[in-house]
């Protein structure tokens, strides 16, 4: 880039004279990405980021017409999908992209887990990554209520009700989430605030830290990388090879997203976001109340737990179980001592597999048994 050719080159020089980006470009050009049979998993972080960018863009467009409140939310979403030019497309892309972002983030997290990429010195990258997934799920939970339709209302009622089951602090957190003891218009404005202000701010900060860490530390190598001969260690330049591959996948993801949004603007089968009828707290709940698919395993587990276990409420035990499981999962880089020292820790692979099987089985059961 030292050559000054054409308009682009002159523009680059003009910027470089002012903000010194050449050092950054040099750094990127020298950065490399390991090539091995698990390299494909490196791309899922980028895909999650792509869907997040789509979420921000479509979310801003939806904000132009969405009006929070028990009397306006449903009507404004209906207006968006029926009257606003391409409103249906923006909502469809926002909904599809939200689900695909969580899916990509889950795949990214489990690929990092099973390739042991969380090991030293990338503990902080793992922690921020788990934090991002948690924030993304909360994004989904808060966004689910915003259309103020029947299913969203009752699913939010059940979801927030679980928090109320916590001893001592349950009522406090229930009121904090709902804005009152029931799901009302106050809950929408609260969830709206979380969805468009608090969560994006938090997410941006954590995402920035996560990306800086990824750039500073580079891509993680496989556990047995150090034991390989130098001739077996193949790498590719981060810029432009890896970036272009990332871009290629982003374009494929965009194509898939466009096809899904046009052919299935309201989702597929049980994974749908049909607007349906407006929420009415005074009508009986619909026969099937289901949360978003990424909460289904937890929802189903809590449903299957007995009412009481040794005189303790089953639901409470489930909530505590998931809480402890989440803490363990978040802190796994500090527990997995073997991998930290370059050895293969089989125990954690088994734990990871058990978690994946548990999530899959409970999710499938959740949809079959409903």
């Amino acid at each position: 880039m030292n050559q000054v050719n054409g308009v682009g080159g002159r523009l680059y020089k003009w910027i470089d004279e002012r903000v010194k980006i050449q050092a950054f470009v040099d750094y990127m050009a020298h950065k490399s990405v390991p090539k091995h049979r698990h390299s494909i998993w490196y791309y899922f972080g980028g895909i999650s980021l792509f869907f997040f960018i789509i979420q921000v863009a479509t979310g801003i467009l939806l904000l132009l017409y969405y009006r929070p409140g028990a009397d306006t939310a449903y009507e404004s979403v209906k207006f968006i999908i029926t009257k606003v030019e391409f409103g249906w497309l923006i909502r469809a892309i926002h909904s599809w992209s939200a689900n695909l972002m969580i899916l990509a983030a889950f795949i990214h997290m489990f690929s990092v887990y099973f390739t042991k990429a969380y090991r030293r010195p990338r503990e902080l990258t793992w922690l921020t990554g788990v934090g991002l997934l948690g924030l993304a799920m909360f994004f989904g939970f808060s966004g689910y209520l915003l259309p103020w339709n029947e299913l969203a209302f009752f699913a939010t009622k059940v979801g927030t009700g679980m928090v109320g089951a916590l001893p001592f602090v349950g009522d406090f957190f229930l009121n904090l989430m709902r804005g009152s003891s029931e799901v009302t218009g106050a809950t929408i404005t609260r969830f709206f605030g979380w969805h468009v202000a608090i969560l994006p701010a938090l997410f941006t900060v954590v995402l920035t830290v996560h990306l800086i860490l990824v750039q500073r530390q580079g891509m993680s190598e496989p556990v047995d990388w150090d034991a390989k001969k130098p001739s077996e260690k193949t790498v590719m330049p981060f810029f432009p090879n890896f970036i272009l591959r990332d871009l290629l996948l982003w374009l494929i993801a965009l194509n898939v997203l466009a096809i899904l949004a046009v052919f299935f603007p309201y989702g597929v089968g049980p994974f749908h976001w049909l607007l349906g009828v407006k929420a009415d707290p005074f009508v009986p709940p619909p026969p099937v109340i289901r949360p978003e698919w990424y909460f289904m395993f937890a929802f189903q587990t809590l449903k299957m737990l007995p009412a009481t276990v040794m005189h303790i409420e089953g639901e409470l035990i489930g909530i505590f179980g998931f809480g402890l499981g989440g803490i363990f999962w978040t802190l796994v880089p500090f527990f997995d001592r073997k991998t930290r020292h370059g050895q293969k820790g089989r125990l954690f692979v088994i734990i990871g597999l058990a978690a994946v099987i548990f999530i899959l089985v409970m999710t499938i059961l959740g949809y079959i048994l409903e």
């Binding site: 590719m236 374009l251 603007p265």
Partner: protein, 420 residues
């Protein structure tokens, strides 16, 4: 021991008095009749669920006599004994209480007390007065010992049960032979729009026999008051008909108003082809092209406009259905279709004015609305294809970009310094 004797005597005396009081309050009618009567249809068995029993009345309250007596002959000879009434006596037997407003207020202040007065004026009552004991009396419809309020689904006169009760006599050709009236009313009613609503859909808002004929004062409606009977529910249609030129013409010719076109017991769901100048229409039974009045032409125009509205509605529905099948949002159009349907219903009702000035604006409004809805639906379907074309173009562009990047990657990776 000696002290115990007077105490025991007092105790036995008190016990004897108690037995005496209990025994005097006892209703011996039920004790004996329950022993003698078998089967679930026996009066004593049915009495358990009878409204009179539930409000605390006893056998003696209707049949009289002293229920505390053990011996039946003593009961028959006791004061106020009325026993079993004859058929002719039944209205007055029941009316002894049911016509007494002061007495009935104790049980249900809202209950009418004019049943007997009405009954006497009914066809049943008139015939009973002439000594005909085959006619229906109170117990024929309400039963004797199993009476329930008419609002109770258990009652024989509950709307869903009433047609069967009436048809018990009125469909029995042998029993009704001497009266010279048809016995196919129930059959016709069951096949009618009213009968379907009541007996099949169990819609108790639909009319049963008593809603047209009256209950206690049941009479066949005369030619002159049929429109009043039908109009008690179909008020708007009756009002339109009353203001129409047909009213005077029907009266002049002795035609019953509603029945002439719609029949009586076998009223079918009205069809649009009942109006017009085609073979099935009722209009041509009186009107013809060269009869010198404008009835024939009016019928023809009404029929044409009605057909147009029905076709326009159907076309709009087909377009909206297609848009819905294509997964498009059509809530507003469905709502507009409801307005079209309202217009059609209103127009069908306005037909009874037999005036083009009244009907035409509503029909034309409906046709215009249906056409707008259909055009909107076509626009939605166009939008569906526009979306797919847009998707096709954007997919091609994105794919092209992806291919360019892929070629670029290949080219870069062929260069030795970038090769992995």
């Amino acid at each position: 021991m000696q002290r115990l004797i007077p105490v025991t005597a007092v105790f036995v005396l008190i016990l004897g008095l108690c037995f005496s009081i209990i025994s005097s309050a006892q209703d011996n009618c039920l004790d004996c009749h329950t022993d003698w009567e078998d089967g679930e249809n026996s009066p004593t068995q049915k009495w358990t669920y009878d409204i009179h029993n539930q409000v605390g009345l006893t056998c003696a309250d209707c049949h009289g006599g002293d229920p505390t007596l053990d011996d039946m002959d003593d009961v028959r000879n006791s004061k106020g004994y009325r026993g079993l009434p004859s058929t002719a006596q039944i209205p007055q037997f029941c009316g002894r209480c049911h016509s007494d407003a002061t007495y009935m207020k104790k049980f249900n202040p809202a209950l009418p007390v004019d049943q007997v007065a009405k009954y006497i004026t009914s066809r049943h009552g008139v015939l009973l007065g002439t000594g005909d004991d085959k006619v229906a009396t109170c117990i024929s419809c309400h039963s004797a010992h199993n009476t329930s309020p008419a609002s109770s689904p258990m009652s024989s006169v509950y709307p869903l049960n009433l047609p069967a009760v009436c048809s018990g006599c009125h469909s029995d050709a042998e029993y009704m032979a001497e009266y010279g009236i048809p016995t196919d009313q129930y059959e016709k009613f069951a096949s009618s729009v009213h009968g379907h609503a009541l007996l099949v859909n169990e819609d108790i808002g639909a009319p049963a026999c008593n809603d047209c004929h009256g209950n206690h004062g049941a009479v066949p409606p005369g030619v002159e008051n049929i429109s009043a009977v039908c109009g008690s529910c179909h008020a708007k249609v009756a009002s339109l008909f009353a203001d129409s030129p047909h009213r005077a013409a029907f009266e002049e010719n002795g035609f019953p108003q509603c029945e002439t076109c719609h029949s009586n017991h076998d009223i079918i769901k009205p069809l649009d082809n009942m109006v017009g100048t085609e073979q099935n229409s009722f209009c041509i039974e009186c009107h013809s092209e060269d009869d010198g009045n404008k009835g024939f032409e009016t019928a023809s125009v009404i029929s044409t406009l009605l057909d147009s509205l029905v076709r326009s509605e159907q076309n709009a529905i087909e377009v909206i259905d297609e848009a819905e099948i294509k997964g498009m949002e059509i809530d507003d159009e469905r709502f507009a279709l409801k307005d079209v349907r309202s217009s059609l219903v209103e127009s069908r009702s306005l037909v009874h004015s037999f005036s083009l000035d009244e009907i035409r604006p509503e029909l034309e409004k409906g046709i215009a609305l249906a056409d707008v809805t259909r055009i909107n639906g076509l626009g939605i379907i166009d939008n569906y294809f526009f979306r797919r074309k847009g998707l096709g173009i954007s997919t091609v562009i994105i794919t092209l970009l992806a291919v360019i990047i892929w070629i670029k990657i290949r080219r870069i990776e062929r260069q030795p310094r970038n090769r992995a």
